[in-house]
Point group: C2
Chain length 264, copies 2
């Protein structure tokens, strides 16, 4: 029942966190139950939903760091959010040390995968979707997400440097498929921060569609200031300003993915 | 004589590469000799200057990977660019494996520092400036840059998430100062992608100035489409469109830093 999607791009600032939060909220608004995992040590998805990052106050306070490094159960790290139907595994300031801590251990690429499958198996009513927000790198945390996921969503900023990194990213996904996760597929490449006043946006969009065809999702997310404002209020844009030009495309993106997954 | 500046921010997409290239070109236009080191495995600074990323064609082709991992000399990896007075150490596709390769070796945090000081000592006429473009992370590559540098320049995008990561970054710089480089200072925080039509830009700018005062540089870089277009032509914006609203602020930034460094 549960479909797990990793939101990945090693290029920085291309809208991974923004897409994780707003797609999760848009899916929840359309009746899906969603768990969002904040795998980025920066913890932007956690703050963008108005939640506190995991602190290691006492032994009982299980955080994502404990799950990845000490193989603690995931259930204790799941919290509710202000969005109905959306739960969260918060990031943890210590996560920046997680990659070095598991660097040479056995099973270092599948820690998240096993924790997540144990958690989902323990639930009467598992979520319809799990989304994983990734850091801007192709290191062990992102590899953990690629091995835990059923599919990958690639946000692509309509700018030159973002296009440049795409072929390296697609190669990495193929390597992950061959080595840790043969079932991994690409849900699509999603064009974002599209600015119709700017020729560069059109050039990038045309270039990507030429190379990747139907792998590019129909829905395009425009550059929209309300999207950038929403996280400072700890809300997804679908709650901050539901009818604005930034929120409606994320609702359309959710519909398009539900259709592609045969869940509508 | 040589001043080495690391351009650092773990938040992705905040203008590290754009600042590295355009500040380097603006300093060169004002008579300074500059070496730019592309320490980011994505290699955007290399492509943005129209150069090819290091390939490991044969044993003689020394790349930055060889310098960091195998402690090869830096001189063989330095190339000319189309900008007079600006030389480059290109990135290398293999760099994404560098951190794991040096993960537990002795001196892993000072590989770049020793290679750079050996190189500068071997030159009759060392450059006035060395700029180091860093990846969006606080891993071993960025720590190598913090230990090799005399000062740090922090590009800060005028957006909510970029502000959130600032305190973590400043803490990391303090840790680097205490552990690997006691002489390290902060040249400043540089506001970029400032959009005067957008209230959020003003809020972020006011917030940073309130907390950091004079550590915030006077020069503000506006959001400007010519800046985003220039890398697709392999040129800094100071060459692509020298009189535009994107190029002039980088010339002003170079002047401000020359003044702060007493080199004007
Ligand atoms: N469609 C959009 N319109 C306007 N601003 C946007 C849009 N999407 C994202 N942003 C803003 O752009 C910045 C970068 O987005 P975001 O932080 O989501 O990217 P990221 O890929 O998660 O970054 P990182 O690589 O650091 O994890 C943020 O300040 C965000 O608010
Ligand atoms: N002042 C500006 N105005 C308009 N666009 C800009 C400006 N500065 C940078 N950009 C664009 O924003 C994007 C992000 O900038 P850049 O790649 O330099 O950031 P970065 O911090 O180096 O990213 P990464 O974290 O991936 O290394 C690029 O597409 C760049 O062209
Ligand atoms: Mg993010
Ligand atoms: Mg960069």
């Amino acid at each position: 029942k549960t479909r797990t999607i990793a939101i990945v791009n090693q290029k920085g600032g291309v809208g991974k966190t923004t897409t994780s939060i707003n797609l999760a909220a848009a899916l929840a608004a359309q009746g899906q139950s969603v768990l969002l995992i904040d795998l980025d040590p920066q913890g932007n998805a956690t703050t963008g939903l108005g939640q506190r990052k995991g602190r290691r106050h006492g032994a009982t306070d299980i955080t994502l760091y404990d799950v990845i490094v000490d193989e603690a159960g995931l259930a204790a790290a799941v919290v509710d959010t202000d969005v109905a139907g959306l739960t969260l595994v918060a990031s943890d300031m210590d996560m920046s040390g997680a990659e070095l801590a598991i660097g040479n251990s056995p099973g270092r690429t599948t820690r998240l995968k096993s924790a997540l499958s144990d958690y989902l198996a323990s639930l009467q009513d598992p979520p319809d979707y799990v989304l994983i927000d990734c850091p801007p790198a192709l290191g062990l945390l992102t590899v953990n997400a690629l091995s835990a996921a059923r599919s990958v969503l690639v946000p692509l900023q309509c700018e030159f440097y973002a296009l440049e990194g795409l072929s390296q990213l697609l190669k990495t996904i193929e390597v992950a498929k061959a080595s840790v996760n043969p079932d991994l597929v690409i849900d699509g490449v999603m064009l974002t921060m599209y600015d119709r006043r700017n020729r560069l946006s059109d050039q990038v969009a045309a270039d990507v569609r030429k190379h990747l065809g139907r792998a590019v999702l129909e829905t395009i997310i425009p550059r929209n200031v309300r999207i950038a404002e929403a996280p400072s209020f700890g809300k997804p844009v679908t709650q901050y300003d539901p009818k604005c030009k930034g929120a409606l495309p994320y609702m359309a993106l959710a519909k398009e993915l539900l259709l592609r997954h045969g869940k509508n």
